[in-house]
Amino acid sequence: MQIRLENIIFRYSAGVPVLNDISLDIKKGERVALIGHNGSGKTTLAKHLNGLLRPAAGTIRIDGRKTDTESVARLSGIVALLFQNPDDMIAKRRVWDEVAFGPKNLAYPEGRIKILVAESLALFELLPLQDCNPYDLGYSERKRVALASIIAMDTPILVLDEPTAGMDPREIVLLTGALEKLREDYKTVIIISHDMDFIAELVPRVICLAGGKKRFDGLVRQAFQDQSLLAVCGLLQPQIVRLSTYFRQTEPALTPVEFLENWQRRAK
């Protein structure tokens, strides 16, 4: 589904705007990263997409339809939102029930719920844990449960707030696999993250926010080249980009493979 934001302004009561005139377009099936330091407005923007927050001015359209009169309950079937802290979400005594919570609320048929839950659990290697109490698991396992419960909602749009925080490399591989599956299913995915190495490898397009304003919207390559932009957003260059910049490669590399290709191309 296509998302279109036009001139969104948002402020808490009388304060300075947390979001200041934000416009953007995201196509169906696109994977986009939303970056910026804490307090830049990323999470606030995410909460606008499913109606948790309503803009003071501007419009949000999903598939051409304005969402300002749609209820959160209805929008939750279209946009699923992963919260940073899994403990803000987990409410059930069994992992399986937890993952089924969203689909049940959306009143999916029994059979479909079973399939969705099983698939999502499998994506994060949680099938062996499906009968556990989520709070008996470790933090990163709970994070995986939360991710699975969002993906099980089978919405066309997903917003993931800091999906990698607290995860180890093996778990990040699971997440990468899940993102691939979502791409195959043609889902739109918006990732909010501080993890620049993760973004460099997986997300082609980034939107940078700073002080509630959109500072950049374009290819991740260009964003990471722009030192002043990174400084404004409080971000560090990913490792490979740093190498690539140091060796003045004309087309900055994002992955080790790209870096080596650039190197060899220039050697020729």
């Binding site: 059930k92 005594r93 109490n133 989520p134 709070y135 008996d136």
Partner: protein, 198 residues
């Protein structure tokens, strides 16, 4: 410096943290109830939880301190009802000790018992300090029963009982379901959980 260190010897730091959290829970759940537009207060959920998890003394302390702190935060009027909140915690603790939080139905019975004791303490305070009126919606019940010809005492008893019945039963049920959902490692830290629920 020679005060008896009853509290220190009695409560571990886990119990302390539990009580502190429960006090905050009591104070904050009003926010949830108003969102859901439910006709209950839920302001003793933390007190009842501590009663179940850490016993009657800890439960009583939770209730007492909740209302005293309410006095600092909203209005000193709340502090006048501190003894009521304390009794709720003590009774919840005793109910749990005698196995009245083992099943859903027993939890409802605990809720009823708590309502009764709540009334025993709340009625005199309401009657002697406030002349039977507290400036809340429950006053309509008092007015109605007075109009029916009941005396003030009878009216206040009916008011306190009816306005608390649903709240205390709902709170007891909620507390029971939470204790049931406790993860094993927490249940293990709070030694009373197993004896209270199985």
């Amino acid at each position: 410096m020679a005060r008896p260190e009853i509290l220190k010897s009695k409560f571990s730091s886990v119990t302390l943290a539990l009580i502190a959290f429960a006090i905050v829970l009591n104070m904050a759940t009003g926010q949830l109830v108003s969102l859901l537009k439910l006709p209950i207060f839920l302001d003793s959920i933390g007190t009842i939880l501590v009663g179940i998890l850490a016993g009657p003394i800890a439960g009583g302390l939770t209730g007492l301190l909740t209302n005293l702190l309410w006095g600092l935060i909203s209005s000193p009027v709340a502090a006048a009802f501190a003894p009521v909140a304390m009794v709720i915690g003590v009774i919840a603790g005793l109910c749990a000790r005698y196995g009245l939080f083992k099943t859903c139905w027993l939890a409802i019975i605990s809720g009823l018992i708590i309502t009764v004791f709540n009334a025993i303490v709340a009625v005199p305070i309401r009657l002697y300090m406030f002349g039977g009126i507290t400036g809340s919606g429950a006053d309509f019940i008092t007015a109605y029963t007075l109009a029916l010809g009941k005396d003030l005492f009878g009216s206040v008893v009916i008011t306190v009982f009816t306005s608390n019945l649903l709240d205390k039963v709902a709170t007891a049920l909620l507390a029971w379901s939470i204790v049931k959902a406790l993860p094993e490692r927490t249940a293990n830290r709070l030694s009373r959980v197993k004896s209270a629920t199985t």
